[in-house]
C-alpha cells in the first residue's frame, strides 16, 4: 500500500544573522495510514519543525513531500491551506483555544475554512458529539478559562477531529498536563489510530508514552537516527 506521507531528502534551513540554521538535514521518512508514531529527540533536534512541515504550515527548503501521492511543495497557498484544513488536525502543547469563544464555538471554528465533512451530519451536532466523545458534555457553554488544562486539551482534540481529517499532528500534547490527564489524552490519541484508522504523529518528551506507541522516530540534530 502507498504510504500516506512520504518525505524524500527533506531539508529545512533558517537564514539567521549569525549564519544558516539547519533544522532538518535530509529527512527520508514514510508514514502509513492508521499508524501511530511518536517523535522523540532532545530540545532543538528539529521535532516541531518536522511536524509543522508535515502539517503544511511550513515548506521544506529542499526535498520533496508527497501527501497521499500528491506533491505538496508545488501547491499554491489556497491548495495547501484547503488540504491542511480538511485532511490534517493539529493538537498543540498550549491548546490554542480562542478565549472569547465557548467550547462548542471553539470546536466549530475548525470548519470555518475547511467546510463540513461530507457525511451529512450537521456541524453543530457533530461538534457536540465530539465534545461528548472526549468526555466534556458537562462543560457545554463554558469558556476555556473555566476549564482545567486536561479539559482544554480535550476540546482541542475535538476541534482537530471536526472536519474528519486522516492525519492528526500533536506537538507535545501532554507537555502541560499532569500524569493522569496526560495519560487520558494519550489514550484518546491512540484510540483515534486504533479504532478509526487515523494516522497520528505525536512529538513528545515523555519516554514512557513514546515506548507505548507502535513506532518511535528519534531525531538528533536535524537527522533521523532511529525510525
Amino acid at each position: 500500500m502507498d504510504p500516506l506521507i512520504r518525505l524524500q531528502e527533506v531539508r529545512k534551513t533558517y537564514a539567521m544573522p549569525g549564519g544558516d540554521v539547519q533544522a532538518l538535514k535530509g529527512i527520508d521518512l514514510e508514514f502509513h495510514e492508521g499508524e501511530f508514531t511518536s517523535i522523540v529527540g532532545t530540545s532543538g533536534s528539529g521535532k516541531s519543525t518536522l511536524l509543522y512541515l508535515l502539517g503544511l504550515l511550513t515548506e521544506p527548503s529542499d526535498g520533496v513531500y508527497w501527501f497521499r501521492g500528491r506533491q505538496t511543495d508545488v501547491m499554491d497557498d489556497l491548495e495547501r491551506s484547503r488540504l491542511r484544513g480538511r485532511e490534517i488536525g493539529f493538537v498543540f502543547q498550549s491548546f490554542h483555544l480562542v478565549p472569547q469563544l465557548d467550547i462548542e464555538r471553539n470546536v466549530l471554528l475548525a470548519a470555518r475554512y475547511a467546510g463540513a465533512p461530507g457525511n451529512g451530519v450537521p456541524l453543530e451536532r457533530r461538534a457536540t458529539e465530539l465534545l461528548e466523545r472526549v468526555g466534556l458534555s458537562h462543560r457545554f457553554g463554558h469558556r476555556p478559562v473555566e476549564l482545567s488544562n486536561g479539559e482544554m486539551q480535550r476540546v482541542a482534540i475535538a476541534r482537530a477531529l471536526l472536519t474528519g481529517p486522516s492525519l492528526i499532528l500533536a506537538d507535545e500534547p501532554t507537555g502541560n498536563l499532569d500524569e493522569e490527564n496526560g495519560a487520558h489524552v494519550f489514550e484518546l490519541l491512540t484510540s483515534l489510530s486504533n479504532d478509526e484508522g487515523k494516522t497520528v504523529i505525536m512529538v513528545t518528551h515523555d519516554m514512557q508514552l513514546a515506548e507505548k506507541s507502535r513506532r518511535v522516530v528519534r531525531l538528533r540534530n536535524g537527522e533521523v537516527i532511529e525510525s
Binding site: L57, L78, H96, L101, R112
Partner: protein, 419 residues
Amino acid sequence: MKLLVEAWQNLMLHKTRSGLAALGIIFGVASVICMLSISEVARQDVIGRMQRMGLNNVIVDSVKPERIRRRERQESDESWSARYGVTRTDLEILADNVPVVEAVVPMRVLFKDVVANLHVSDITVVGTTPGYADVMEHAVASGRFLSPVDGAKADPVCVLGHTAARELFPLQSPLGEVVKIGGIHFDVVGVMDRKGQTGSGGLLADPDRAAYVPFETSFARFGRMQVRLGQGTQEMTELEVNRAVLRVASSDQLLPVAQIAENLLERRHDQEDVAVTVPFELLSEHEKAERIFRWVMASLAAISLLVGGVGIMNIMLANMAERRSEIGLRRALGATRAEIVSLFVGESTVLCLLGGALGMAVGAALAQAIGALAQWEVVYQPLSFPFALGVSVLTGLAFGTLPAVKAARLDPVLALRVE
C-alpha cells in the same frame, strides 16, 4: 456579507477595544457632519438675506458719523442739533443722473408708537414710496400698497406688514380700520405678505413688523427732526432718508451704478455719512469666503479622519499582536493568507462603517443642539451623509490593510509557538 457579519461578531468579542478604536472615526465624522451643517445654515441664511434685500438693487445707506455718535453718548446739559445722511435732494440727483436706474425708493424709519384698539406692538414705521413693493419684491396680501395719490396729498394712510397686522388686529381684518401712529390716526389700506428677516444692518431687520406710510406723509405729519429728550435738554438729529434703494435692470449694471452713485454722493457730502453696498457683491464675497471655509473644512475632515484612521491602524496592530496565536490557529485550521487579510480588513471596515454611522448620528444631534442654542433652523448638506460613510469605509480599508497584511505574513509556526 458573511465576512462582515463574522467581522462584527469578532468585534463584539472585544467591545471596549473596538469602541475605543471607532472613537476617532466617530468624532471625525461627527465634526464633519456638524460643521457642514453649520456652514450650510450660514450659506442659506446669507443667500436668503441677500435675496430679500434684492439682488438687483444698489443700497445707499445713511451712516451716523462718529462725531454725532460721540455726542450722543456724552451726558451734556446743552441742547444740540445735527444733520447727516441721504437727503431728498440726493434722491432727486440720483434719479436724474444715474443711468439705467429703474427706480429710486427711499426708506425713512420713524420711531413712533403704533397702537390699534389698545394693542401695542413693536413695529417699525417706514416712510416710503409706491415703488417699494416692486423693488423689494414684497407682495401685497390684501388691500393695496401705497399709491402716488396718497403721497401727493400727504394722506394719513398706512400698509401693515404681515406680523404687524396679526398683532394689532388679532381678531379682525385690519383693512379700513384705524391705527394711531405717534398719536395721529392712519387708515389701514393694505396688508403685506410674509417676507422673512433681512437683517440688513439693523435697518428694518423684519419687514413683517413694519407699518408703511407715504414718504411725503412722514414729513408732513412728523417733521424732519428726530428728537431725543435729555434731562431738560433736546438732542435733535435731522435725517431725511435712512436708505435709498436703487433698482437696476440687470445685475451686470450693479457695479457701474454703485460706482456712479458713490461718486455723485461723495461730491455732495463732506462727512462720511453715506455708504453704498451691493447685496449681490456681498453674496459673491460670501461665496468666496465660503469656498475657503470649505477647503479648511475639508482639510480638517481629512486630518480628523487621518487621525481616526491611524487610531484604527494602531488598535488593529495591537489587536494583531494580541491575536497572534489565533492567527496561527486559523492558518492551522486551513485559512489562506488572503483569508487572514480579509478577516482583519473586514473588521476594520465594519469598525469604520459603524464609527461613521454613529458619527453621523452624533454630528446630526450636535448640529441640532447648536441649532437649538443659537435658535436657527438646522439644515443638513444632504450629500454629506453618504460622503461621510463612504470616506469612513475607505479609511477602514486604507488603514486596515497594513495590519491585515502583517497578520497574513506572520509565519504560522512562530505564531503558534509559546513564548
